[in-house]
């Protein structure tokens, strides 16, 4: 199996606490590019700053035209969809919200799948709408790996449940087991 080059994570309600735990338990040696889309009322700059205090890897808020860098967690800015160009630089858009959300997890997941193809892991965590399910389906269609937080363990079960129903998953695990899985998939 091709070693993953990127991990893309989507979450909504309850996402900040879930991300704190997950990013804090990642191996600091991870060479993958990590992308995060979390629906939040506050700006991503705030979110990135808060997450940085808990994450094993450096966390930055994405700016337009920046490269997607290995070993760094990139957080989608508020109010814009985040996409990737083929040269692995970021692009932003103000196209209409998807599932009432901008940034939308579906948009980021779909674009990441176009860019990384099978060398991608998609992770859907807690959330109260169904954004991310279609995107996770696209990741699977490209041969990437789908990881979904077990809905019973999620603060809000709707999002992971929708992902399971629509896309299915290669792994469905309680939150605390997801980071160890990612470390194993990415480092071996």
């Amino acid at each position: 199996m091709r070693r993953p080059e990127a991990i893309v994570i989507g979450c909504s309600k309850g996402g900040f606490n879930a991300l704190k735990l997950l990013l804090g338990a990642l191996d600091p040696q991870l060479p993958q590019t990590v992308l995060v889309c979390c629906h939040t009322a506050s700006g991503a700059g705030v979110l990135a700053g808060l997450l940085a205090a808990h994450s094993a890897l450096p966390v930055i808020e994405v700016g337009e035209r920046q490269p997607a860098s290995p070993g760094i967690v990139h957080v989608a800015p508020g109010g814009y969809h985040l996409l990737l160009e083929h040269d692995r630089h970021f692009a932003l858009s103000v196209d209409e919200p998807v599932c009432f959300s901008r940034p939308s997890i579906d948009v980021l997941f779909g674009s990441a799948a176009d860019t990384y193809h099978a060398a991608l892991i998609g992770v859907v965590l807690t959330g109260a709408n169904r954004d991310g399910a279609d995107g996770l389906g696209q990741i699977r269609a490209h041969g990437g790996i789908a990881v979904v937080q077990a809905p019973v363990s999620a603060e809000a079960a709707t999002m992971p449940q929708a992902a399971l129903d629509i896309a299915g998953a290669d792994y469905c695990l309680p939150l605390e087991q997801i980071a160890p899985l990612l470390n194993r998939l990415c480092l071996t």
């Binding site: 160009e85 932003l92 103000v94």
Partner: protein, 289 residues
């Protein structure tokens, strides 16, 4: 075993042919648009019109005269708000209007006006500063349908609440409701706001300088352009501005990496508000000349 994968190479060929058809047959050049958003919109068109493939979309584009309008609508996706990013409008009010007030005639260009939300916001700003009578705003877009909608100034009533909040956050002096009338599910902006606005077809990819402006506003358009097209467009803005004129970009757009950055000084870098230098730089860049 890897699952059967979407054929990315095939899709790229189809996209390239679609872009070429649009350019050669209809004169609309999307070849320098950033690809990630473009492919997403083209896929949406394929889906919306039940074409099955980009090639089928291209066939309709080439053979059905009326189909172009739908394609352009799908590719331009004009989404905006009145007084979007209120701090930007506060900054215009505080830092730019006092300078505009020193000119006997004020010319403003809003590039990529979409459905007009921002140009009417500007008109209100100027009206409240007592400057509107000597102002003229050119509001341009390459999408004729969007221009038509912009001229009508009719919007869904559900947007009014957010826009009113934006307006007040931007330092509005009254209530936004004093500028529109509400009927059923729609609001219609006071037609008097239109009196100093010229709506015109202008394509940033192919068209040139057409005015000497004191302020150019172009927000959330450059994010869709490739780097060379961004640079060209920014040089076009530079050439359209008087010395000391202001340029206002989207909050996630930047002048920093463009060659023409040397011709500008940031008024408020966070708000992407810049001012063209009064003195020419040692070499002015002339991609758009």
């Amino acid at each position: 075993m890897p699952a059967p994968q979407p054929d990315a190479e095939l899709e790229q060929i189809e996209l390239d042919l679609f872009v070429q058809a649009l350019k050669r047959r209809h004169g609309h050049d999307f070849s320098q648009y950033a690809q990630a958003s473009l492919i997403r919109r083209v896929r949406q068109l394929v889906h919306a019109h039940h074409c099955g493939s980009i090639s089928a979309l291209t066939t309709r584009l080439l053979h059905e005269p009326d189909f172009l309008t739908l394609v352009i609508q799908g590719l331009s996706v004009p989404v905006s708000e009145m007084f979007r990013d209120p701090p930007v409008f506060s900054a215009l009010r505080e830092h730019v209007l006092p300078i505009l007030a020193s000119y006997p005639q004020i010319t403003i260009w809003q590039a990529g006006c979409a459905h007009g939300q921002e140009v009417y916001s500007l008109a209100i700003l100027l009206e409240e500063a007592g400057l509107y009578e000597r102002s003229h705003i050119f509001a341009t877009d390459f999408n004729p349908d969007a221009l038509q909608r912009a001229q009508e100034g009719i919007y869904p009533a559900r947007d009014a609440q957010l826009w009113s909040r934006n307006y007040l956050l931007a330092g509005g002096r009254q209530s936004l409701a004093s500028y529109y009338s509400a009927r059923y599910d729609f609001i219609k902006l006071d037609q008097r706001l239109r009196r100093h606005i010229t709506f015109a077809d202008h394509n940033l990819v192919t068209d040139k300088v057409f005015c000497e402006a004191h302020l150019v506003l172009c927000r959330n358009v450059l994010i869709y352009f490739s780097n060379p097209l961004q640079n060209r467009t920014l040089a076009l803005f530079r050439n359209s501005l008087v010395r000391g004129g202001h340029l206002c970009l989207g909050l996630r757009e930047s002048l920093d990496f463009a060659p023409t950055a040397v011709d500008f000084t940031a008024v408020d870098a966070n708000l992407r508000l810049y001012r063209r230098n009064s003195q020419p730089s040692s070499e002015e860049h002339d991609e758009a000349a």
